[in-house]
Every structure is written in structure tokens, then in C-alpha cells.
Symmetry: D3
Subunit: 332 residues, 6 copies
Amino acid sequence: MAIAMLSDLNHGQEADIFVLMTAKEELTTRDGKPYFRVGFRDSVREVSFPIWSDSPWGVDCREAWQPGLFYKVRAIYRDTSYGPQLELRKIREVCTADSADGFSPALCLPQTRFDAKLMFEELLATAEERIGDAGLRGLVVRILEQHREALLTLPAATHNHHAFIGGWLEHVLSVTRTCVHLADKYDEYYPEMQPRLNKGLVVAGAILHDIGKLREIEQRAQGAEYTAAGNLIGHILQGRDIVREAAVGLEVDSEILLRLEHVIVAHQRLPEWGSPKPPMTPEALIVHYADDLDAKYQMMSAILRDDTNAGVVTSRKNALHQKIFRGGDSAE
Amino acid sequence: MAIAMLSDLNHGQEADIFVLMTAKEELTTRDGKPYFRVGFRDSVREVSFPIWSDSPWGVDCREAWQPGLFYKVRAIYRDTSYGPQLELRKIREVCTADSADGFSPALCLPQTRFDAKLMFEELLATAEERIGDAGLRGLVVRILEQHREALLTLPAATHNHHAFIGGWLEHVLSVTRTCVHLADKYDEYYPEMQPRLNKGLVVAGAILHDIGKLREIEQRAQGAEYTAAGNLIGHILQGRDIVREAAVGLEVDSEILLRLEHVIVAHQRLPEWGSPKPPMTPEALIVHYADDLDAKYQMMSAILRDDTNAGVVTSRKNALHQKIFRGGDSAE
Amino acid sequence: MAIAMLSDLNHGQEADIFVLMTAKEELTTRDGKPYFRVGFRDSVREVSFPIWSDSPWGVDCREAWQPGLFYKVRAIYRDTSYGPQLELRKIREVCTADSADGFSPALCLPQTRFDAKLMFEELLATAEERIGDAGLRGLVVRILEQHREALLTLPAATHNHHAFIGGWLEHVLSVTRTCVHLADKYDEYYPEMQPRLNKGLVVAGAILHDIGKLREIEQRAQGAEYTAAGNLIGHILQGRDIVREAAVGLEVDSEILLRLEHVIVAHQRLPEWGSPKPPMTPEALIVHYADDLDAKYQMMSAILRDDTNAGVVTSRKNALHQKIFRGGDSAE
Amino acid sequence: MAIAMLSDLNHGQEADIFVLMTAKEELTTRDGKPYFRVGFRDSVREVSFPIWSDSPWGVDCREAWQPGLFYKVRAIYRDTSYGPQLELRKIREVCTADSADGFSPALCLPQTRFDAKLMFEELLATAEERIGDAGLRGLVVRILEQHREALLTLPAATHNHHAFIGGWLEHVLSVTRTCVHLADKYDEYYPEMQPRLNKGLVVAGAILHDIGKLREIEQRAQGAEYTAAGNLIGHILQGRDIVREAAVGLEVDSEILLRLEHVIVAHQRLPEWGSPKPPMTPEALIVHYADDLDAKYQMMSAILRDDTNAGVVTSRKNALHQKIFRGGDSAE
Amino acid sequence: MAIAMLSDLNHGQEADIFVLMTAKEELTTRDGKPYFRVGFRDSVREVSFPIWSDSPWGVDCREAWQPGLFYKVRAIYRDTSYGPQLELRKIREVCTADSADGFSPALCLPQTRFDAKLMFEELLATAEERIGDAGLRGLVVRILEQHREALLTLPAATHNHHAFIGGWLEHVLSVTRTCVHLADKYDEYYPEMQPRLNKGLVVAGAILHDIGKLREIEQRAQGAEYTAAGNLIGHILQGRDIVREAAVGLEVDSEILLRLEHVIVAHQRLPEWGSPKPPMTPEALIVHYADDLDAKYQMMSAILRDDTNAGVVTSRKNALHQKIFRGGDSAE
Amino acid sequence: MAIAMLSDLNHGQEADIFVLMTAKEELTTRDGKPYFRVGFRDSVREVSFPIWSDSPWGVDCREAWQPGLFYKVRAIYRDTSYGPQLELRKIREVCTADSADGFSPALCLPQTRFDAKLMFEELLATAEERIGDAGLRGLVVRILEQHREALLTLPAATHNHHAFIGGWLEHVLSVTRTCVHLADKYDEYYPEMQPRLNKGLVVAGAILHDIGKLREIEQRAQGAEYTAAGNLIGHILQGRDIVREAAVGLEVDSEILLRLEHVIVAHQRLPEWGSPKPPMTPEALIVHYADDLDAKYQMMSAILRDDTNAGVVTSRKNALHQKIFRGGDSAE
């Protein structure tokens, strides 16, 4: 049977698919019947359905299946009023040979639509071209290179915006591109400002503003989660740590380093959003706005994509806590 | 004697200058001595000093001088602990012949550093090139052309950001440029968004977001002031009025018009900043961020220029109600 | 069989009733059994219950019944722990001949307890008697007459206060009556105020403060909903539009018109409640208080009527988000 | 010389006047010259001016004059840029014989425009006619009669609204009148409410909502001040104390008494305004709105009377912390 | 069969237990099957499970069992995915003879881990030793003694902190101990403060700060609930009442009494937490902090005990509305 | 002439004193007379008065005197309505020989009433005795010893609480003592808490919670000021830096270190007070409360000491932004 993507299946279609098991929870119905609620996903679609303990799969489910492992499954896909479900025909753990059929873990996790390596290269190139100060440039490049592997897959958050594999790169590159534009523009507008806008610092701040996510969140099969230090300290302070640790042994001007730390510390702007200090420099101001817009725009875009409310507006239950206009009816 | 600019004079220098009288207030010292506090300005510097009633200029000041009129003055300029002052030698109202010596009212009011006509032309050209929908484009062009004269000099505010002649154009053009960039960028990022980003609407919204300032503020010699309707209704609602009135008789798609109105209504984002609705469309979101950054950046730049506090940071008494970092000492 | 009102039926009673279908939703039980959840209502009571797909009514329900249509139904009424339900015996769509048996659509929707036409006439009469300025009076009368039909049934809101047919009239008339009293009273108290209280303007503001609901909400069988413009712009701005549009061609003093617009704009007082400006005139202040009290009083009254909590206070889950005291136990 | 009112004098006019001394402060000019700043007032106008220590009045001022005493003064009145002032010709303390010339302390303190005794009688009559429950009526009447003397002069506040002699009566009577109207109206609107609106309780609550001012503030020559208990406990709790103390020995239904206490406790509605509980009964809701409107209306009226700002709006520095529209210019 | 504690039973164990019935609610399943949901508890564990109407216990449950009564039950205990449940074998109401088997109502309600009488004695002793002023000491002792019986069992709240039998004593004693320490300490630190810290007043305030709970809450089998007066007035005001009433006839210095009332009134510090006045004396400041810490510490401790979230932190759904760190993983 | 303390001088007394010059500002009177405003202080009293340019001291003042230097002055002290002033008779810079007469810089700056060295020793001893974990104890001791010299004089703030020499030690020792008490107490109360309270961590957190002040503020003759990094980053983050840097090379358990960092990060509790995270551990909760009370108590004590308002309460213009009760009049 041909191998398909779970997310491509139509109602009633049977196929072989590669999926990641994301959940297995032991439950009982109201009248005492025991079952497992299991979850499987590929990069786009997630299904969740019951395995009754006394059904043919009951024993395997209890004894063998484990969340976090990848499976090859033959199943019939159905859209139901409880959401998408699978009727299992066969199931076994993925094996090495499956690579030949196209299996790769990346097929089973939500991820950026862009090529992570290209994004990384562009970020690195931007640092090298746009940061004039040698010390600062060296610092940014060192951090990027040290964490290359992790950054290629890091999400930007556990929920909310860019919460998928490669989300950090997608978000940070977007913010950096906007910052390159804004830095050029505002330096041209206010050439007499004292001290003059440090365009390289804007770029460095854009690249590193969320670098603390490396320590704040941890990727697991079930999705990203906060680390202990992420909970107790938070990515804003952890990002500044990474910068300060990387600066040891490099020749970075102390005021420039301080200003870079401030961009990171202030990038959420409001204390209730996690920034102990508001933007007190033009560089921090620009990075804040570019970052905030990018996050909000991604969320609004995702809400428009996912909301199932009928009518001209979405529901208010979403990451932005407000209705988004979908359009259609323009009657007054 | 050579004609100079008030703002170019050094301590102790005597010169002929063209100035606008901005204030004349009758006062008495604590021990009962009557005097006038008068103000004069050119486009950059403002001076304020006493004319004692029993001094040679006392009678003229009381009977003849009027705030809002332009004067040719010969005076000695002094920096004092009370700020810049003038010791008058001669003073007469400006006459037609003074044009030959270079007088123009624009010399005496604070204004944009850019060429207003060029900015206006760029704004118009942007509308024509970037707004694909004919009805919407026609609407924007009509409004710009109808109000050309007023827009060439309109400030963007009475206080706070861009509060000078041509400030509206400087601010709006800057916001529009940013919006052109962001609209291109985000449309490319999220091509599958439903409905797709209306890039022309972003540009139209950028151009018109503050158009209500035409009715909210009024220029006077003493500076811009709020009109009655500006106080009771506010520029957000008044700007929407201008758009709706101009749309009468034009073929503008009703949903596009509604979305444009929403961009204006929502551009301050928070109710306490005057927006009865938050941005509910991607277009409104982009315009809000571009606008907010531009206003804050201009304020921060002006604070860095004007603050006289000693030390590494400015005072907290400024338009942003926070300290701005000036730099210098990077000691930890 | 005698025709009865759904809201008059007792547990176990069988009768013929006229009802509006308000909902039909296709669902599946946890163990996969398909059914429809349907809703029917008369003006006071709403019932919601399942129609199993394999029951006698399953096919008709799926294929024929439609929310928004009126039905003649024979059924047995039951109070259950799931709320009121119907056991259907017969069902057919209402036909012309049913009028002879007393059917009218108004029987099936929640509505004001008062006579809408009498309320409208009183409102109109109040405008004519209490607004001294001819231009202002003409404006108010024109608006009322132009929208007579819609205003006779318009609710005052989609949820919260006065959310039923005729709710706008009930609320607005109540506010207007209060305003007549308060305007007389405060003008007598502060006869020397400059400018003197414009009593006619208070009345005009009371009548028109919520006129924007005409454009903000739309009535459907399932209840009132926000229009696209209602979502993006809101009734405060839309109400001002109606006034400005109606004023075209009438001789209304420009300051009086501006003050009337301000009453509408400011009537919610706080920005987070939708008013971009706070009341800045005595007229706006009076209308705000009369309106706010009327809305809150209706909500408190409805909470006391509907809350099913045991004990001396209601639950906190209601339109006022607080407990209301019901009384009974006065122990300290 | 004819005896005049200080508040009737014109610039330059000389007259004999009766005044209260409100202030005497010993100061020194910047260059060391000692003087006293003294204040005198009648019921409408207050003047404040220096008495130089080495002037003819210097010794008397230092040794004899006392704030809080009444004086007969012959003086020339002048409007100056420092505000209204007096040039003293004669000054002596008021004596018994001055009554024959019309002196009375009430001439020298700001006070209500209405007749305090008539207001008190109306309040009492309203209690007797409008409170049906004998126990409640007896309670209200007892409190009014016990405190008759103090209530005839009590101000409603030390600053803000109704901060003058008789202000309590003026404010409370106005609130009570409004409440009589609203109680009749809303009882008629919602006759089926359970429990039904207690109209007598609304009236009792209106009369007693601010009764705690009796203990919160204290009248002195210099104006009303907070007592120790007023500072530490506040009039809301103190008013409830008065009610509870007066109820001892009377036959008041315990639930009615509790509801009356709640009206007092909740009458400011918000915790930050001093109410530990929000209005949880219809009676408390009505009293809150009637009270709040009355206070705000008096403030707005006083701002319009006192503000000296030029232009269409008042300054923002006033008891309402916002601009009030004065009108005139209605240009858009 | 041996008598055991419900809270000591293991999955599958059968035993005789004494329990309190806490709930009996008549319900119907989605498909119309009627049943009762019943609850039973001992001091530590609560179980809730269905009794089907057609099961052997159906009739007894409907007709005889009553929440609030104590039962002797033989049952098999089970941990299920719906939480702990009982399979009943026998059930009868507790009778006098059961005391011989160790039954006491206290076995069936959640309560303090400490000995209530000892706590009460310590509180009384502290008052007698630590309050120097005879009048104040007499007042505190009188109140404690008058309410001895009630205080031995009073909870400190209906939810949140110390919401169990004896919770008031546990909390108040803990606050008082902290206050004894802090009063000694700060008096030693600031011996020159004017007026000097009144250490006895700190202790009196600590003991009485929550005395109003006596009137605010009422104990029932189902748990503590707010009284009518508790809802409408609140324990802060009610506590002050108790103090004022007890002071009648005692020789308490009026300023000391006022300061004690203030400690009670201000002990929550913020208006939104119920205090109409913030701490305005050092005594009130100390009591506030000792109280607030004790409540928060008890909540945090209970959250750590009860939260079932996996991972390094608890859920955010708890009395503190925030995540609490449980520890374990310290990876950065 | 005997050498006295400035702060001991009475009105009119002449003496030799040692003082620090704190200010020299060049000014001009309104009518153009130039002068210097100079300030001098000892540890308790500060005086500020004019030196006229044309007076005997004019030239010396302009050319020689420098803020930040110490002077021996002979002068007559006067209390005036402008505050305390000096009439200079002699003035010269302090020289080495003055030590013999008792001069020491510490005489001229506001400072703690306690012996700094003793406080430091107690802090160190507490760390050694109370912190059981060797790694943690070593960390705390290392930090204290490394910064011994600076900590002996560091103030706790530039304004607000403990803003004087040795203020850091005074505040931190007080907080630590309270924490020792509370940690013992709460560990005894909740011995079963999981994980159990780490008492040593509470003590370590108390000692180090404000250690970042070392980098946030800088002492100058004119008083403490914020450093650049203090402005841009803040003491909470800087304190955590100091701890992390000191931990390098020490054997500190990683979870204990993380929890210690969290105590520092969370010690202000609210984001708007500078803490990006709220207390999420019992240790952080205790340190927060002990710290907050100590700061507020010191402020309240200082307000009671310094406020000059007449009446029963202080002014509201103080570090706590509220009135403090001073007492005296207890009239209701």
C-alpha cells in the first residue's frame, strides 16, 4: 500500500503513514469502561482517539506503545464530530529500513515552512555584513556558531507565536530583516542624533534578542516545555547570560556590550511582559517594535488559519484574546 | 547691520533678526513692580524675558506689540541662568520690503527639516503606485489633493511627537515608507493567509491614519491648538469622517472602505490611547506598529537633543515619561 | 388539541404549540452514535434536546427542519436534569392558516413587556415637547421617523442588558425619562452655570445615544449578532454617523450638533468601555449616568430573575460579574 | 463709611467690611526681609497678601491678629497679577455691637446657596412620607433629629464637591430627590422583581449614605479637616457606625438594617474609592448612581465657574482631572 | 470487620469506616438514565461517585440519605480515573454506640494539625503577657473568652488559606507569634520613633485582625459559607464591630482603641483586597505583613502538597494563580 | 573656638564646624543679580544658602570652593523661613592636622546609627552558622569577603529606604535576622512540605538579595547615583550576575544555585517593581516579605521623623505616597 502523509488523508481513506505518538492516557468512561486516549501526529495534523482496553489493540497499547516514539501505521482516516480520528489496521515501530520509504522524524513535527539552513546562513551573513564593530560582530558570530545545531530546530515559544520546529530562526530572521530596514531608515532620518544610532547594534540585538530561548525551553516529542531555569529565571535574563558568557575573552567595547544587554533586557518593553527595564536607547526601541509586530502578525495569521467560528469574525478565544476580522459581509 | 538668525547668535552678539512675537503677559513682581513677560522666536530658538513697565520699551510693549505678529529686531543676545534673552535696541513690525532681505514667516516657526513639497509628491506617488485597487487609490488621491495646502504645513500634534510645521507630512511619509516595506515583506511571508494581506490597503491606511489632524488641530502663532471638535471628538473619529465624506460619489468597494475606516479607528491600538477598537485586521496591525514606532522614535530623538540633565541618562520629565540613556560611562 | 404556549407547559403536559427552531447541530456521542441537538423557543422559554439519527424523526430532522423557521409542534414537555425538553409527537412548518389560531412570529422571540408602538410615540412626543431648539428637534424627529420600523423591534444589545426585541426602545425610553427629570432638576439647581444646561440637548442625547445599534447589530432567528461594521467600528461611532448624515440639509446650529455628537461619543465614559472621550459637558454627564444605571439595573433585575444558585446570594457568573444579594438570611 | 461685602468690592474701591482671618504665616523674602502672609475672606472671596514686618501693621499682625477670628476692616481692594489683595486702613476685632450692622459669622464662610433649615425640613419630611417601614423610618428620623444642629452646617467634603457650609444638606437633599424619582420609576418598571425594590430603603440610604461625614470631618476657620478617625477609618465605616448605634433600642427588622448598612458601605462602588463591597442590591445601585452624578455635576459646574483658562476648554488641573468644554468655537 | 479511616484505605481494600455525607445531587446521563452523585468524606479524603437509581441502593439514597449526616459504611475503596470511589456493601447512620468504636464528628472534617485548645491557651497567654496597657489587654482577653467555643473550630476562610476546622486559630496564632518577634525587633531598631511603636497594640492587632470571620462565615457539613452579612459587609468591618461592641463598658484609651480598629481595617492593605484604608501606622504595617506572608505560605505549601501536575512546576490553576516550583530538574 | 557639630548648633550660635560641600550652583535673581547657591552638610543636617557674587566670599566661592571637598568653617547658624542657613565668618579646606581635632569624613555624610563592622561580622557569622550546605555557604562567604570594603559603606538606595552610608548593611542584616526567625518557624510549621524548606537558602537569599546594589549605585559626595549599568540593567539582574560569577570554580549544587538566583530575581515580587518572576518557591516568598516590610518600616519611621505637617497625619508627599498617622487627637 502506498505511503501517504496523515495530513493528506481524506475521510474514509486507508493508507500507510509515518506518525509520532504524542500521548497515551489511561481513562475510564463514566460507567466504568477502561480505555486509553492516544495521540498521533505528522507535521501538520494531530489525531486523538480512544483504544478500548478490551479491543484487539488494547494489550499492545497498554504494554508496548510509548509517546515519543515513531510508528508506521496502516489506518482508515475519519473526520468526526470529535475531530479527526484513525481506525487502526496495523501498527509497528519505525525501523531503519523505513528511511528508504522516506521516513524522517522531521515529517512528524510541526515546523517552519522555510529551509532552516538557509535561514541560518542568512542570519550569519547579515551579522557579518551589517555589524561594523569588529568586537560586536565577533560576539554575535561566535554565539550563532556555537549554538548552530540547536538553533536550526529551536521553536520560538512553547505556545503562542512561532511554536514549532525552526520557529526561532523564522522569527529571528524576520525581525532581523525588519531591523536592517528600520536601522537604515532611522539613521538617515536623524543623522544628527547624539549619540548616533548604532546600526550594527540594532542588528546584533535583533539576532540575539531571543537567544535565551536556548535555555528557557526544551524540545520533547509532546512539544516544547519550559526548563526549570526557564520557569524561575526566564529567557530575557538567560539570553543576557549567554551574551555575557560569550563575551569573555573577546574584545568587546564595554559600553557596546552594555547596550546590547539592554536591548535584550528591554525587548518586551513592559514589566508585566517580562522586561525589567523599558527601552532606554533607540536601538532597543527599534528591536522591540520589530519583534512585537512579528510575533503578533504570526499569531493573527495563525488565528485566521485555524479558527473555525462561523461569521465575519473569529472567536475571542485565541492567543491574542480578541476577535479577528475575517471579512465577507460588509453590510453596515 | 547684517541680518542674522536668532538661533545663530552667540552670547553677547548684536544683530538684526526677524522674529515672531509669541507671548505678552502682564505681571507684577512680588514687591509690586509691574512688567511684561514677552516671547520671541525664530524656527529654532525661543527667548522669553521681561520688559519693565517703566523702561524705555514699556509703553510700546503695552500699547503696540502683539503676539502673532512678526518683528524686525536689533538686539544683543545673552545666555543667562534664566535661559536665552534679548536686550532690545530697535524693534518694528515686519513690512513688505523685508522680503527682499530674506524675511518669510516660515523662518520664524519650528518646522520639518525636509522639503514639504517633495514629501507631498512622494506621498502622492506612493499612493498612485502602491494602491492597486482603483477605487481605493482614487479615494486616497482625492483626499491628498483636496487638502494639499493644509497638509504642506500641518503639524502632527500640539505637543509630543512631530509638533512642528510640516510635522504631519514628515511623520506620515515615514510611516508610509515603513508600511510599504512591511506590507511587501509580510505578504511574502504569509502568501496563504485568508484573506490575503491587502498591501494597497496598508499603504492607504498609512497615508490616512492621521488625516483627522486636519480637523483636530489649528495652527496659531503661539503654536498648534485643539479645536472644539478636536477636544470633543478627536482626530481618530474626524479622520474617519474625512474618508467617508470623500468616498461619497466614488466607486469604493464597501468592504475595502470599511477596512480602511478600521485601520484609522484602530491605529492607536489601546482604548486609553483613543482607539475604540484594537487592530482586528493584519493591515491595521501593521499600520499601528509603524505609526507607534515612528512617534516614539521621534520623541526619543528629541529628548536626546533637548535634555539638559547631567549624567548618563536624561531626566524622566519628558514626553516619554522615562529616562533615556545618553551613554558615556559604562562602568558596572 | 388546544393550542398552548411552550412557556406555560407543565412537566408531563402534552399540547400543540407554535415555536421557532433556533438550532440544529450534528453531533456524535463519545461512543460514536450520531444525533442532532435541536432547539426550539417561544418568547419566554427555550428547549434543547437530542434527535437520534436512528429515531423516527431522524430523517426529517436531517433533511427538512431548518433553524429560523416556525413550526407547529405537538409534544410532551418535561423538566429534566438537562433542562426543559420536548418529546415530539407531531411537527410541521407553520402555514398561513395558523394565524387564525393565533400564530404570530412575535410569540416566538423574547421581547419587551411593553407596547413598542406606545413607547415609540412617547419618545417622539418627548422629542417634540422637550427640545426647544427647532433645528435640533427636527434632527431628532427625522432620525426617529426614518428608522421607525427598525426601532420598533431593535434589541439594545446582543447579550447583556435589554437583549430582546424592543429592548432598544425600552432602554432608550427609560433613559430619556430619567434624563427629562435630571435635566429639569439640575438646571434649576445651577441656573447660573455658564453656559447654562441645554435641557433639550440632554433629551436629544438620551434619545440618540444608542442609535448606532441600528448599524451595529442585526437580528436573526438565533438572536442578534454584530455586523461586520459593528465589529470593526462600533455603535458609538456609527451612531454619530447617523446623526451627521441626518443633519445634512437641516439647519442645525454647528455647536449644538457638535455637542450632540459628543454626548453620543462620550456616553460610555471610559475608553475601555468604548468611549474615546469622557463626558466633557454637563449634558454628556447626565446622559452617561442615566444610561449606565438603566443598563445595570436591568441586568441586576434579570440576574435576580434567572439565577438558580441556592443561598442568600447569586452566583458570580453573570453579566455583572459579581454576586447579587437575594436575601432571606440576615444572620450576622 | 458704608459697610460692604468683600466680594462685592471693585478694583480701587475703599470700604468697611467684615472678614474672617484664615491664615497668618511668617516668611522671609529671598534677600532676608521678614513679613507675614495673611488671609482674609468673606463667604465668596478670599484675599491673601503680605504684611511687611517693618510696616505700620507689622507689630499688630505679629502680636495680636489670629486666624479664626473675625475682623472689621477698612481697606482698599485691588485686583493684581498676584490675585485679589487689600490695602489696610483700619482693622479691629468684631464686637457684639457689629451685629447691629449686619455682622454674622455666616457672612464670612463659603456656604450653600439654599436655606439650610428648609433643606433639613424637606429631608425630614421626605423620610416621614416616603419610608413605609415604621422601624426604618424611626431610625432615619432619629438620626436626623439627633444631629440636627451639626447637619445644618456640615460640608460634604474637605475638598472636591460641596466643600462648603451646608454642603452636606445640599448634596444629600439633591441625592434624595433623585432617589425618590428613580425608586418610583424602577419599581414601576420591574414590579415582578424578587424581592421587590424597597423604595423606602432607597430613600433611607440616600439620606444616610454620607452620614459618616459627621465623624470624618471637622469644621475650622481655615476650612474643614479630617479627624483622626476620619483619616484612619473613613466616613463609610463611620456612617455605618452611626446607623448601628442609633438602631439600638429601636425595632428595626434585621434584614432591612443589614441592607441599609450595605447601601452605605457600597455607595462609592469601587474599592479604590473606599467601598469594600460593590452594590449588591438594587437599592444600593440606585443610591450609588444618584450620589455619583450629583457629586460630579457639582464639580463640573464649579470648574466651569472657576476655571480661568482661555480657549474652548478648561485646564485639566481640577477636581475631575480632565478638560471641560466651555464652548464658543465650533469650527471643525 | 476492623474500623479504618477512609483516608488510610488502599485500592481494593474493604473496611468499615465512619464518614460524613457531603453531597447528594440528582442527575440524568445524556441518554436519560437517572442517578445520584453522592459524596462522603473523612478529615483527609473525599470521595464522590454515582448511585444508579435502579441499583440496590437507589431507593435508600433517594429517600433516606442526607448530606450533613454521619454514616457508618462498609465499602471497597478504589482509585479510578474519575478519582477515588467507594463500592458500598453496607451503610447506616451513626448511632450513639459508635462512640465506643472511636467515632467523633471531628474525624470527618478537614482540620488543623494542631491542638486547638493548646493554641487557644497560647493565644490567651500571649495577650496577657505581651499587652502592657490594661484596658487594651482586658479588651482582647474579653473577646477571646467570649468567643472561645466558636474560635476553637472556626476556619480562617471558605476557600483559599486555612479553610479547615481550627484554621482561624492556626493562622492567627502563627501571625501573632511572628508579630511578637517583629514588634520586639523593630522597637529595638527604632527606639526614637515618635510615637514609639506600641508593641502591645501589634499583638492585640495580630490576635484580632481576623476576628470578623466569626460573623462572616458559617460552618456547615458541606464546608464553610458566607453569611448574608458576610457577603454584604465583610469580615474587616465586622471584626471592627466586635471590637467596638466589646469595648463598651471597658476602660480603653480612645486613641489606642482607634489605632486597634485601624489595624483591623487596614490589614489587607489594598482596597481591592478589602481594606478601605492602607496601613497608616507602624503597628498596622507589621500586622499586614505577618498576616499576608502566613496566608501565602500556607497556600504555597498546600499547592505543593495537592498539585498533580507532572514536571518541575505546578499548574497555574491554584489559589495563588501562578506556577510554583517543585524542583528536580535544574538543567539550564 | 570650640569645634561643634553643624547639626548641634542652635539659632544664632557661632562655632567652628567640619562640613562637606555638597553643592555650588551659579544663578541669577529675577532682576539680574548673580549669586551662587551653596550647600554644606554634616552627617545629620544640610544647609543651603546664597553667596552673592559681590559679597566678600564671592570670588573665593567662584574660584576655589568645590563640591565634594571638606571644609572647616566658622559660622553663625540661623533657622529661617528658607530653612537652616549659615553666615560665614571663616572657611578653609580641611587639612591633615584637623584629624587631631576629631575630623573624619564620616562626620559629614548621613550614615547608619549602627557599627558597620559589627554588622558585617554578624552577617558573616550568620552565613557560617545558618547555611548548612557547604557549597552554598562557601559562595555566600566568598561574596561577602570579596566585597567587604564596599559593603561597609554602601547605601541601600539612592532615595527611599536606607539611603545613607552603611544603609545596605543595616537593611540586609535586619532582613537576614527576620529571615532566620521566619525560616525556623515555617520549617517547624510545615515539616512535611515537599521539598522541605531550605533554611540555609532563605538565609543566603536574605544576605544576597540586594547584592546587586554594588553595581547599581555609586557613592559620590552629593549622594549615591545610578551607574550606567544600574540604569540599563538594574540591581536585580546585576546581583544575580555577582552570584553566578562567584560560583564559578565553587562546588555549588546546580539546583541550589538556581533557587538562590530565583530568590534574588523574585525578591521585589511584582514586575512593575522590577522582578521579572514572582516568588515561585517558599524561600523566595519569605525573603520578599522580610525585605518589603523592612524597607517600608524604615520609610514610615523616617517619614514620622522628618514630616513637618501640622495635624494628626503627615503630608502625602513622601516616599510612601500616603498619609501616616502621627496621633494626638483621637476625637471621632
